[in-house]
């Protein structure tokens, strides 16, 4: 009798626990729907207020798609290189290459038709050095600039620290002058002066200003199409120059290298264990394909991401034509938000996915409101401005990216508020700072300086990627040493 009562009580407790768990899951799904409703409400109400706000809403909804894809596919550029070097897992690198190829494929007709919003960046060794800084930072921080956004949406407060550190470092680094001017070569100063920038830009006071105007701008901004003597806005230039030569060939070689070094041996061992034939070209191709499809979730996210990135460019360009402006600065002026425009009347309005500049801008805006003058530098004052974050188009994209990631994480019951420890907070702050410096040196992050540039045939994209891989290798070396040291202590206590 007593045994029966105990069984019933245990069963009741189990049922109660299950009911509570189901209730918690249901609540999270409701939160996900609530977030979706909130973003819809923002879009509809602002559009009703003024039709120009649809321009910001386009950024918002593409940002949300990016966030959803990133969270669903655990899409992280840091992981691509880091996991390859640290644990010999290539799944993320494969996902990124798939996304890049698809982004390039959908971009090519848009570029050929002359509708692309993309502009190539100057090409020189600075892209590699910037990539090294960024690569070290993304490994130490535990994620790249874009994954820090989606991880914040998962409730990871370490990622939020990364965003704060990255934002602050960029804003300060872009404006640092005084003592830092001592580290500027004379040739840069002279060259910067020769650019004839407006008087409001104090080009000889600021390390980054002189680096940009005195060195970076002197290098050619060129795509693979242009390198081969073809215009970007042509079928040959877009498809042969940028897509085939600039993306398909190097991406295929990269995947083949990864297959040979990190996948082939393990794959063949597994197949041979099951008595399967892996000989000849057929065996190699099957192995190569197994690497591509090893993680369907990442591959699917990569596919959607790539297509969305290209469509984003097309929709933004369409709206620019419809409203008759080339930059959102004009639009902001028309609707009465004229604070924080650059001296050219522009604001940061990339027309495609970008992460870091809008993060620097909100800190720049805050510093300006605190009385710190920073519109005298090139980054804020001449190019990007520091508009109010509430109406900064790219900020809408980043906030929606966090929201999109949160929606998917809540829906799949993966949302968890994660409080940082002192150790993880320290890594987040240090890594974010490295990424901030790398972003300003490279004029972009893993998205703006690598992903978007590679996918659009910009010659500097692979250079930044090469630097990122080198930096990630150094970061992994450091963490291998760090974790080994900590784990050894625990293992010794167990006699292992």
């Amino acid at each position: 009798m007593q045994q029966h009562v105990a069984d019933v009580t245990t069963a009741d407790a189990a049922v109660a626990k299950m009911t509570l768990e189901e209730e918690a899951k249901r609540k999270k799904k409701l939160w996900a729907l609530g977030l979706l409703g909130l973003f819809s409400l923002i879009s509809i109400s602002t559009f009703v207020y003024n039709e120009y706000y649809i321009y910001l809403s386009v950024y918002l909804w593409f940002g949300m798609i990016y966030g959803m894809c990133l969270q669903y596919g655990r899409f992280c550029f840091s992981s691509a290189f880091r996991d390859l070097f640290a644990i010999k897992v290539p799944r993320m690198l494969v996902g990124i290459v798939i996304a890049t190829l698809l982004f390039g494929l959908v971009s090519a007709p848009i570029t050929a038709a002359g509708l692309s919003t993309f502009h190539a960046a100057p090409v020189s060794s600075h892209a590699i050095i910037a990539g090294v800084f960024f690569g070290i930072g993304m490994v130490i921080a535990g994620g790249c600039a874009s994954s820090s956004l989606y991880k914040t949406g998962e409730g990871n407060m370490n990622a939020l620290i990364v965003i704060f550190s990255l934002s602050l470092t960029q804003a300060l680094f872009a404006d640092v002058g005084g003592w830092a001017n001592n580290f500027v070569p004379e040739a840069w100063t002279q060259s910067a002066l020769e650019k004839g920038l407006p008087a409001s830009i104090t080009v000889t006071d600021g390390w980054v200003d002189q680096y940009l105007a005195g060195y970076v701008w002197n290098n050619p901004a060129i795509t693979y199409a242009e390198l081969l003597g073809m215009p970007n806005a042509s079928i040959a230039g877009a498809f042969v120059g940028n897509l085939f030569v600039g993306i398909f060939v190097p991406a295929s070689l990269l995947l083949a290298l990864v297959y040979a070094l990190y996948w082939r041996k393990g794959y063949r061992k597994k197949q041979q264990k099951q008595g399967k034939d892996v000989s000849g070209l057929k065996g190699e191709l099957a192995g190569y394909w197994s690497m591509i499809t090893a993680n369907k979730r990442t591959a699917i996210a990569g596919m959607i991401l790539g297509i969305a990135c290209a469509l984003h460019m097309l929709v933004i360009q369409g709206l620019r034509v419809k409203f008759g402006f080339k930059n959102a600065g004009t639009m902001l002026e028309r609707i009465g938000w004229d604070f924080g425009l650059s001296v050219q009347g522009t604001v940061f309005d990339p027309g495609y996915w970008y992460v870091t500049t809008q993060e620097a801008q909100w800190v720049g805006w805050t510093l300006q409101k605190m009385g710190i003058e920073n519109l005298d530098n090139i980054y804020f004052g001449f190019v990007n401005g520091i508009p109010n974050p509430a109406i900064n188009p790219a900020d809408w994209m980043s906030l929606a990216l966090i929201g999109g990631a949160a929606i998917i994480a809540l829906y799949h019951n993966e949302f968890k508020f994660k409080k940082p420890t002192w150790e993880t907070a320290m890594w987040s702050a240090i890594g974010g700072a490295f990424m901030g410096i790398g972003s300003r040196l490279g004029l972009g992050c893993n998205v703006g300086a690598y992903f978007v540039r590679v996918a659009n045939g910009d010659c500097s994209g692979w250079l930044f990627g090469l630097g990122m891989a080198g930096g990630a290798y150094l970061g992994v070396k450091f963490f291998n040493w760090w974790t080994e040291r900590k784990l050894d202590k625990e293992a010794e206590a167990m006699g292992l």
Partner: protein, 83 residues
């Protein structure tokens, strides 16, 4: 809260990397498995979803076996048997 690596009983270990973000969970898991003997079980606790994707492929590539795979409200509990 830091990383803990403990022996629960003969042939059974526990690695808790809750609170850690990438790349700590995957690197700690790799190194813990390296220290264990063939046939041993590692009970792994982590709460960083993206680490799970990498750890799963690492387990498969190395020929180890994922014998238990639980997730609840962002908390992962996986048991890995070393080959």
């Amino acid at each position: 809260m830091g990383m803990t690596f403990e022996k629960k009983e003969e042939g059974r270990y526990m690695l808790n990397v809750n609170g850690y973000v990438c790349p700590h969970p995957q690197i700690y898991t790799k190194k813990a498995l390296e220290k264990m003997a063939s046939g041993d079980i590692l009970e792994l606790f982590f709460d960083n979803p993206s680490s799970g994707e990498s750890i799963e492929q690492m387990i498969e590539n190395d020929g180890n076996e994922l014998v238990v795979k639980n997730v609840d409200a962002g908390q992962f509990e996986w048991h890995i048997q070393k080959s």
